[in-house]
Symmetry: C2
Subunit: 155 residues, 2 copies
């Protein structure tokens, strides 16, 4: 377990703090959505979060889940993560870390590795880009898919 075992608990505290300091109401939906995301170690799409939240709040609207996730991203307590697939994926861990995606089953997990967190940031050269941050996306095979062939070559 690379993450703090009580990660989702501290994440709920963070949510409370942000809501309080920004004057945002702490709704049951926001609570359930954050907890559903923070207890997972994969990086679900908005619809996958919706399915999980539905089990806890039967009448919840899909719209709400999409909207709340975007709100969380805007307040910096959830991040959208890099994926070449077409759907956005979300991650409650906003500290710098990296991701492993299995090219067999598309599962995504975290990689915390301090030695990868101190890459020298490229400086603005010919393109003039000011670089602020980065994440590394590793691709490979999870243990369950190690034997199979890729279902999505090149992705």
């Amino acid at each position: 377990m690379s993450l703090h075992p009580d990660f989702h608990i501290s994440k709920m505290h963070e949510l409370e703090q942000v809501c309080r300091s920004k004057g945002l109401p702490m709704t049951v939906q926001r609570r359930a959505i954050m907890e559903s995301l923070a207890v997972r170690k994969d990086h679900p799409t908005a619809d996958q979060v919706f399915e999980t939240v539905q089990a806890r709040i039967p009448g919840v609207s899909r719209t709400t889940v999409y909207r709340v996730l975007e709100t969380f991203v805007q307040y910096g307590i959830v991040q959208k993560i890099n994926s070449p697939l077409a759907r956005a994926r979300f991650d409650a861990d906003t500290a710098r870390h990296h991701h492993l995606r299995c090219t067999g089953c598309d599962v995504m997990v975290d990689l915390h590795d301090p030695s990868l967190d101190r890459l020298p940031l490229p400086t603005p050269v010919d393109n003039g880009f000011q670089i602020h941050d980065y994440t590394i996306s590793f691709t490979g095979r999870c243990p369950r898919c190690a034997g199979k062939v890729d279902n999505r070559r090149g992705v």
Copy 2:
């Protein structure tokens, strides 16, 4: 210009070779789609490619563009690249390189930097992942957006 100035020309040769060796017909659509992608320095979505191709082949179908891009990805002559946004983006450059995305306008450009291409690959530890490859996604501000505030915080 970090890429070879005749990149799109050699890319067309590569397409011809792949089609020939795999027995794929070289259609005008495939030619136009590859060229439309290869001449760009940004990394368009399938629909953006469709718009460009439309200008050259007025009756082209959106379906064809989506389909051909996926075919190119399967044959390894185009890659889907990492983006936290919801839409898949495509890149005709399949050599290892990295990407810069502006958090202001979402433009994506390449970063070729050999010193970033030899990162030590993490070995399977507790998670058992066999890592094959990686790309680094840098975020920052392009020259045009350097002064503005982000339109998508945290993305």
